[in-house]
Assembly symmetry: D2
Homo-oligomer: 155 residues x 4
């Protein structure tokens, strides 16, 4: 066992790096992310291939579900960074790569019209094993398109 210490700031960089570079589906959708330990943002630009309904040019519900899950999962794991501080690197790696979504509910409030969409998420329940997050999706006019709640396994 080495004596190498890993600060919480470094862990947070690792998490952001993971979400930015090592999640191929995020890259396919072109999702940009940022997060503190308390709240996260994920943004996406409308593209023709994201349309769910050609008659109305609105975002597909699956794209909305994807970006809400990404924002929720990111803040759920960022929220654990303090307790991971100074832990063994292998343990940290295992924790970061084994987190998973247990369940998610999405409420679609308005048709997904717009050019720029931002999902925001925050942690509403935090236990040693479980985090529950609330997510919202707004367009560039600040109209709320969708609402989500998800439960993550983080421990």
């Amino acid at each position: 066992m080495t004596e190498k210490k890993i600060s919480k700031e470094h862990i947070q960089e690792l998490i952001l790096h993971f979400f930015r570079e090592l999640v191929p589906f995020n890259n396919l959708l072109g999702i940009q992310v940022d997060s503190s330990t308390e709240s996260s943002k994920a943004s996406i630009k409308m593209k023709p291939e994201f349309i769910g309904n050609s008659a109305h040019n609105i975002l597909h519900g699956g794209v909305i579900a994807s970006i809400l899950d990404i924002a929720g999962g990111l803040v759920a794991i960022m929220n654990t960074s303090e307790e991971l501080e100074n832990k063994d690197p292998n343990y940290i790696h295992k924790r970061l790569t084994t987190m998973s979504t247990i369940d998610m509910r999405i409420d679609y409030l308005l048709p997904g019209r717009g050019q720029d969409f931002i999902a925001t998420a925050r942690v509403i329940r935090r236990g040693s094993k479980i985090a529950v997050t609330r997510m919202e999706l707004h367009n560039e006019k600040n109209e709320q398109i969708a609402l989500g709640t998800a439960t993550y396994l983080v421990g």
Copy 2:
């Protein structure tokens, strides 16, 4: 008003055509669909860009949400084809293009490992305005990856 009648079989073809050709996001993911009025199938092949977690090569939760929503929405609208029979074409077009997902819950049961995934959906509540569907996702080993429930506005 023309006297042209539209049979339920023709309406079902229109619905399948809509889901196969006029939903760009389905095409981006390469999702194949089929449906009766009672149950639907949507299938997808694993591709590197669908991976959610590079450490484990598993399907992203957003892809799972997308295919479950597609299967549920398809059978929800197919289920209305009998009552649309012989209605005015403009009315039928409006009904088909204004259906929307109200809410969806997804339970992720196993990591999304595999090469071929099939979502199946059936209608569990059908009213004049609302349909509720249950969806399941299995891989090619018939392991159940996820479970979904969704409420659709169909009237």
Copy 3:
């Protein structure tokens, strides 16, 4: 057909009367309600028979689900009072007595400790047939015990 007009204020009184007097299960639990067209409140006092876990003296999850559903359903139907104004009394009666919960999700955030619990609800999506509401439950220390989302058939 009589010419009798029914104002929205009178409809709101009818709705509150219905929830206060004609819902026996609300009375069994001793739930008190009030509501505008935009937000509602439902309150309950802890009693020994509401306990779900004798080891910890916390409110049963079913009591929490009940009060959240009551608060959500109340504001969902109050929200329709403007469009019911001046409609036929039989039609109004039918609308008020046929509303129903389509689905509900509850997130339990903290153990239900306390003496006085207040559920608040507001409408987050309103269509001609469907209302979606968000509900929260707090105890007398303003700790948030639970969060809910429900979809109601109101048309």
Copy 4:
């Protein structure tokens, strides 16, 4: 530390005793329960005070939520009885009394008409900390009234 061993059969009896005698709200509703490690049943008889809508004499949605949560929670904890076998009695007591519902979704499929209602539940995901269960409520005519999914903290 004593050498006393506690068999899984004895643990199951303890769990059933807990649900039958130490959950006051179950007693208020008169809910009867039974369970194996794989599936549970909870039954309730209609009483006037359980009515949610005096115009239609149907079961209140909160009663439905309550019985579904009871059935789901019971099988979730029964499912852990094998791994608790021969553990220290204090540890077993702690595990049994600290389980909790994380979230629940209920889909109301038909109005709750009938005299006898039976909820059934089974475990669909089982991890070391989390169990996910599916629940159904039927009346004495075997009509399905409601469907539920819940996530429990069991570890």
